[in-house]
């Protein structure tokens, strides 16, 4: 079923292997959500069951309990090279930001600290173009400046699967193997491949999470989808935006742009 997924998957495997070959040291952000878990599955496909770089959770200690439990189980079952990076407290964040954006900013700072410590040259992240209009402008290999910023007004040319893979010292690159997937593709794939997912995505008492974020700034949406088939069916017909349960996206017209420019996923 859904043969076109083979093509999407194949492109992702190619990108993952490019990243591994060309960028070192490398790490992958695993937020434990549906996208990065599907991505993790593809990493295991690319390396024949192995995960040859660390998986990092940027931990605000505000993830939902089910998320932590799911992580611990998968780390054990799949023998994953897991690493947690504790994000700095909210008080340390820029006070001019609106509240939810400020909370989200903690992850950006956590990532900055991680990069500083581990000197990673590449960070694999499971973002998709269809999530959000600023993410839709991303490159597959997206360079970050010396201070970690995304120079989104002057991105490198990227075509014919040739990427920008070399940088001056101190810069790093974000690698986005899922950019060409949609939310619906991810669920169809998760079902086809039988990939585990956090049960919070399934509806309980008329509500489910479409997108998992920290409990203070993410909320479940109305839904009756109690199985993965229901989710797929819901997405084939819904007109509700995926990130409608994410507070920080819409605080101001440019709040997400500002977040991303300064290094947010």
């Amino acid at each position: 079923m859904y043969q076109y997924l083979d093509d999407l998957e194949s492109r992702s495997l190619y990108i993952i292997r490019e990243a591994y070959k060309r960028v070192d040291p490398l790490a992958m952000l695993w937020s434990i959500g549906k996208d990065s878990t599907a991505l993790l599955w593809m990493v295991r496909k690319a390396f024949y069951g192995r995960v040859p770089f660390p998986l990092v959770l940027l931990d605000t200690e505000m993830e939902l309990d089910e998320v932590y439990a799911f992580r611990d189980k998968l780390v054990k079952d799949w023998d994953l090279p897991m690493k947690s990076e504790l994000c700095p407290p909210e008080e340390d964040m820029d006070k001019t930001l609106p509240p939810a954006t400020r909370a989200a900013m903690r992850k950006t700072e956590g990532l900055r600290n991680l990069l500083e410590k581990e000197k990673y040259r590449g960070i694999i992240a499971g973002i998709r173009r269809d999530e959000q209009a600023m993410r839709a402008k991303e490159r597959v290999f997206s360079p970050r400046t010396l201070d970690g910023d995304w120079d989104y007004k002057d991105q490198p040319a990227e075509f014919w699967d040739q990427y920008k893979t070399e940088f001056p010292d101190g810069c790093h690159v974000r690698i986005h193997p899922l950019l060409h997937w949609t939310e619906l593709d991810i669920w169809r794939y998760t079902k086809r491949e039988n990939i585990p997912y956090v049960s919070l995505y399934l509806a309980k008492d008329g509500k489910r999470y479409r997108s998992l974020g920290e409990k203070n700034i993410t909320f479940p949406v109305d839904s009756e989808a109690a199985t993965i088939d229901d989710i797929i069916h819901e997405l084939e017909t819904t007109k509700t935006a995926e990130r409608s349960g994410r507070a920080m996206d819409k605080e101001t017209e440019d709040s997400f742009e500002r977040l991303r420019a300064s290094g947010y996923m």
Partner: protein, 636 residues
């Protein structure tokens, strides 16, 4: 739910055209009219437009998400958005029209299967309309339709539509594209997008949505020759897995595959995927897989596996039809890194053969530097033999991306017109061991000497300055510590070739022997500079074949009258007097090199300038840099 093949096909369509002609507006409206915008999006847009004080609703804001884009009402970067019709799913790619952002337009358009070219009904065909159309062609897009937009601003006038339509059709035809449809629309008001509207009853053709549905999804290129560029080699549990993506053709378990440029063969013993699948015996174009081989041949990233009967060509020179994106112009003599598939190599621009003005398609042989956003045909030369496919044979592997330092600076397609496959000059497989042995020793000598051995073959008319330059160059090389030697008439005619006269056969034999000796000396590690008129291409090509990949032809150039005026040895005078029969340039032809690695103009430059030019060129080609050193392929 049924797996209706068509329904889950994705078609990627790029929207291109001149700045402000309404591309983003068109997409925003398309999404709205097909009921594809998420709930609340319209209200959000209305609120933003109100706050920003724009009079009409700006549909372009659906795509133009950056503040800078909304502030300046211009698309800066390409974006992708999904929607579906009853027929299938689409990825719509928005491309910026401003010339400043051409690199972003290309990044978007290169990912598309089909294109819609937007032309403003009032402004008509403009600079970027033409440039974008030309680039679509160069990027290999063949499915193109046109929309003439903003018909509302010309009162939905059918005549204005006809005029603009005719203009664009004429241009497209001149570059070998034909538009499958030309649709009059108003993006702002939604006429002829999803619904026909009431304003253009004079138009009988398809709506934009119907046009999209009429495009065809490209099938994977299964019928082309197999190309499997090696991406990486993994060693897991005693297994060596060669991973990559099948670019074209079909790879089967049991196939004998030939790797280029090494010319090594092996049999595919398994196709490896995870989770393990023993039934996996075939991988089609587009699939990322791994393979294991029956032999421990040397394989690394960049090598290309094919079937034996249809391998890529091997060449160290080829032509490319390029678009250029860098502020720094492309110049003759500059070196760039190219990548195609997983292969990477350094190339030098040997010549700029043609500049193409995308506005009037004038092709000019008056060539200067290639500036940003320009299109040109150039000849590129690599130091080693590269496995290459001309674009007409293979649209996946026959295209290159150029890098300068860290940055992508251009791209284009490969043409091999006029160049021979150099594969035959490689030893057959039975000589494998022998070849490997030599490979090590050439490398070892180079390591010990601190530079590679090579042949620098000067050719040119008598009096052009070959000997003078050769001596001066050799002296300087020697002083710089290189192991160098000059071969010229004086030191071979008295010994090695003492038995040869000046008959055509003897001349050919003279050059053949010199070529062989030069090749041996280069293999032994020497930098050989040879100075012979060597007037015949065939003879020089034979000398090149004796030392492929380390033979550099240097054309010492001065026209006949200049040489005759110089006449240092009084030979022209004698020849004119009939005392020297078959003298080159007088009563025997000189065949100028078609593709020399270097041209040295002694007519317009003084000796010292020429010597320095040659020294620079030689040093570039013989120095051992650790990174590139290992890439020079030793051949014998």
């Amino acid at each position: 739910m049924s797996d209706d093949i068509l329904k889950y096909q994705q078609l990627r369509v790029v929207i291109v055209g001149h700045v402000d002609h309404g591309k983003s507006t068109l997409i925003g409206r398309l999404l709205h009219d097909t009921d594809s915008l998420p709930d609340g999006k319209l209200e959000e847009l209305e609120a933003i437009c109100k706050r920003r004080g724009t009079d009409a609703l700006e549909w372009s804001f659906v795509l133009d998400a950056m503040q800078a884009e909304r502030d300046q009402a211009v698309t800066i970067d390409t974006t992708q958005i999904w929607f579906s019709t009853a027929l299938r799913e689409y990825v719509i790619i928005d491309a910026p029209g401003h010339r400043e952002f051409l690199k972003n337009m290309i990044s978007g358009a290169a990912a598309a299967d089909a294109a819609i070219l937007v032309v403003d009904a009032v402004e008509g065909v403009q600079e970027q309309t033409r440039r974008h159309a030309y680039l679509l062609h160069l990027l290999g897009l063949r499915q193109v339709s046109v929309v003439i937009n903003k018909l509302d601003t010309v009162g939905y006038d059918t005549e204005r539509f006809q005029v603009v339509a005719k203009d664009i059709v004429t241009y497209l035809q001149s570059i070998g594209l034909s538009a499958s449809h030309i649709v009059p629309i108003s993006a702002r008001h939604g006429d002829m997008i999803a619904a026909r509207g009431d304003n253009m009853s004079w138009y009988q053709g398809k709506t934009l949505v119907d046009v999209l549905d009429s495009f065809e999804v490209a099938m994977p290129p299964l019928a082309r020759g197999l190309r499997f560029p090696v991406q990486d080699v993994y060693r897991y549990d005693d297994k060596r897995i060669v991973v990559g993506r099948v670019e074209t053709g079909i790879l089967r378990k049991g196939d004998t595959v030939l790797f280029s440029p090494t010319n090594e063969k092996a049999v595919v013993t398994s196709i490896e995927v995870w989770p393990d699948d023993k039934d996996k015996v075939e991988a089609h174009a587009g699939e990322s897989v791994g393979i294991t081989l029956d032999q421990k041949i040397f394989v690394e990233r960049g090598h290309i596996a094919s079937h034996e009967t249809n391998p890529p060509m091997l060449s160290n020179v080829f032509r490319a039809h390029l678009f250029w994106l860098s502020q720094k112009p492309l110049r003759v003599g500059n070196s760039y890194k190219i990548r195609y598939g997983t292969h990477e190599a350094m190339v030098t621009v040997q010549s700029i053969d043609k500049m193409i003005d995308t506005q009037d398609l004038a092709q000019s042989d008056e060539v200067g530097d290639v500036e940003r956003n320009a299109v040109a045909e150039v000849t590129l030369r690599a130091r080693e033999l590269l496995p290459v496919d001309p674009y007409i044979d293979n649209f996946r592997t026959g295209r290159i991306v150029l890098y300068d330092g860290y940055d992508v600076v251009g791209g284009g397609t490969i043409s091999m017109d006029g160049y021979a496959d150099q594969r035959r000059s490689i030893k057959p497989k039975s000589d494998n061991l022998y070849e490997v042995e030599l490979l090590t020793s050439y490398e070892a000598r180079a390591q010990k000497n601190g530079h590679y051995g090579a042949v620098f073959w000067f050719t040119g008319l008598s009096g052009a300055g070959k000997s003078t330059l050769a001596m001066a160059v050799e002296k300087e090389l020697f002083e710089k510590g290189y192991y160098s030697y000059v071969l010229d008439g004086d030191n071979v005619r008295h010994g090695l070739n003492v038995d040869l006269g000046f008959s055509p056969e003897d001349r050919a034999e003279n050059i053949r022997r010199v070529g062989e000796v030069a090749a041996l000396m280069a293999d032994a590690g020497q930098v050989v500079v040879s100075a012979f008129i060597s007037p015949y291409r065939e003879d020089r090509d034979r000398a090149r074949a004796a030392a492929p990949a380390r033979f550099f032809e240097i054309f010492v150039k001065a026209d006949l009258s200049t040489c005759e005026q110089r006449d240092p040895k009084g030979l022209y005078k004698k020849a004119r007097a009939g005392k020297l029969p078959e003298f080159t340039g007088i009563d025997s032809p000189y065949e100028s090199p078609e593709n020399p690695e270097l041209v040295v103009d002694t007519q317009h430059n003084d000796i010292d300038t020429c010597v320095q030019q040659i020294i620079r060129y030689i040093e570039q080609n013989i120095v051992l840099s650790e990174k590139e050193g290992h890439k020079i392929v030793a051949l014998s």
